[in-house]
Subunit: 348 residues, 2 copies
DNA sequence: GTGAAAGCGCTAACAC
DNA sequence: GTGTTAGCGCTTTCAC
């Protein structure tokens, strides 16, 4: 017997007086092997609790059975729900998941993608960082043959599978509800101007205004280039809105992070919600219904988005499709109208 | 020139008419190499945008420069903060981070650890799943030479570095505040009975009772074996508490998940907080101050815990210490006394 | 049905 | 200072 500190095919082969290729065949359910031999090998491998080395296998096969995920931050409850969806689909297919964060930074995002590719992931799921405008580096990687599926904050320039929420409808309905409740001057605070998410939600917002015979006012539209993570983005936006002659009586906040931050800030300023200003946002936080006042929000199907995106990626990986018709899946959102937008709170 | 679809040392060596070892040396800043040759190689490598294959390097070196993390779920804000701390320390040392979730299940946890070891991580950071009681499998892995640092929910049985919050003090102070506010009958709801976290927080709770001349009542102590994630754990616990002859007038909830869930349930039942029952919990959610009523809570230093644990792990990895004196670091917690425990809410 | 041998991309003795 | 060689653990021709 060879020393037992590291169990390898070689050791098993030596102990059993066979060749490594036979052992390899037995363990991978290869058909060209004697049933008795196979049983003997499997029994011994089980006894030693042998687990084939993934790294060696990856190097040899060129496939790691791992998919990489790049998103802004797991601290955002929406994304942590997405992760659970991704895992559920991946594990079912015997794939591993490696989660990385871009913290809304282009440089970090690029670094994470580089890490993932160098670690031979079989495909990448990603939601772009707020700070990302140039995606040529992704296009290059995709063209080199690595499947990429985009979700949430997607890139319009790259042709690939995409999964998004119905951002337009969510924003349209939320804004419409504010207007229907009697608010006249609905402001808009969102993430970066160029993001797909912002663009779509903005369109929904504008449509609702138009449909109510309101002409959009540039001054009541605010963007946060760092999705509200930068020092004074939120504070400045609110300050500016409240200094307007025609001060807004409602705000539609278009991202999860911006929604919580704006809510926090307004509460800190001891401005009455919804009497002085009504709020309707986007959030997946389970605490939204427990805040004071309960926060009206558009809820995105996080789990489903992750699951669907992972399924599409796995399909690309397994079937090695290069010239597929790529599709964009749009998932429905749910509206929760609560006290912060002037509605009556109904818990549960 | 060799075909350019895959850039390897071999290709560079061929193109430059050198040996792969020379290329390897140049790229790894080896000293035994001619400065001019080195520059030529680096220039060409840069031109091709060459990135050495991590998998091959890992197989060869036996080190992946990656640390694995196992925790219950990133959906818990405390853990997502821990992750950010881990990343900050790891990136600084040029290490990658691979995050996995156990969802409080022993089997999943074991599977994740197996995945990580087979993928040759250089060390593991872990907080035990609620469902884990037998840690012999971890002991085996650690004894085989893989460094493991425990954080948050730790294992008393394995000798290794550990990082925890001051659970005893947090629980003691929280319970004391409830008692000082005039509540007479403070109940306790926590995660699984055997968890290190529960044990310590329970001890703090009991100490506070004793110090106030109160004898603990078994009937007002509830455990949730799945940390509140299982169907009716929370509902049953609350039902039982409220059916007692001597109904509690306050509840100390001892984990992040249990705290939010209990709060949610009490609000749904339309029981007045704190008038009918006061609440004091453990949570890292940033929305705690915005709930109604604002939720009194013990806040753990998530970022610091992750950072410290990662630093200790990296120290074990880099210095290859096998016979170190292992230490347990206890980090201070912060108390936020708010309206749910009968205090006045102060925002900000 | 089984074994021998080559090689995935890289590093590290060891020669020269 | 540079090249040759072996080998990390695995899979896969290709013989037999």
């Amino acid at each position: 017997m060879l020393p037992s500190n590291k169990i390898t095919l070689k050791k098993i082969a030596h102990d059993l007086n066979m060749s490594t290729s036979t052992i390899s065949r037995a363990l991978r359910d290869n058909h060209e092997i004697n049933a008795v031999t196979k049983e003997r090998i499997l029994a011994y491998a089980r006894e030693l609790n042998f687990r084939p080395d993934t790294i060696a296998r990856t190097l040899r096969n060129g496939k790691s059975k791992t998919i990489g995920v790049v998103l802004s931050t797991v601290e955002n409850p929406f994304y942590s729900q997405v992760i659970n969806g991704i895992e559920s689909a991946a594990y079912q297919s015997g794939y591993n998941v490696c989660i990385t964060q871009s913290h809304e930074s282009y440089d970090l995002e690029k670094m994470q993608v580089a890490h993932l590719t160098r670690n031979s992931v079989d495909g990448i799921l990603m939601s772009l960082a707020a700070g990302t405008t140039d995606t040529t580096y992704l296009k290059r990687i995709k063209d080199a043959g690595l499947p990429i599926v985009f979700f949430d904050n997607i890139d319009q320039g790259i042709d690939s599978h995409k999964v998004v929420a119905d951002n337009f409808k969510g924003a349209f309905e939320a804004t419409s509800q504010l207007l229907n409740s009697g608010y006249k001057n609905v402001a808009f605070i969102s993430g970066p101007a160029n993001n797909s998410i912002t663009v779509e939600r903005m369109a929904g917002y504008l449509k609702a205004l138009t449909q109510n015979g309101i002409i959009a006012n540039e001054a009541t539209i605010k963007y946060c280039m760092h999705d509200g993570e930068n020092d004074c983005e939120i504070e400045n936006a609110i300050d500016e809105l409240f200094l307007l002659d025609n001060r807004p009586d409602a705000i539609f906040t278009a991202t999860d992070n911006v929604s919580t931050k704006v809510f926090q800030s307004i509460r800190r300023r001891e401005i009455q919600i919804p009497d002085e200003v009504a709020l309707f946002g986007f959030t997946n936080s389970k605490l939204a219904e427990l805040t004071f006042p309960a926060l009206s929000a558009v809820h995105q199907p996080g789990f489903e988005m992750g699951k669907k995106a992972a399924e599409m990626l796995l399909d690309l990986i397994k079937n090695n499709r290069s010239n597929t018709e790529y599709q964009t899946v749009v998932l429905p959102v749910q509206l929760f109208s609560r006290a912060s937008s002037g509605s009556i709170t109904i818990l549960g």
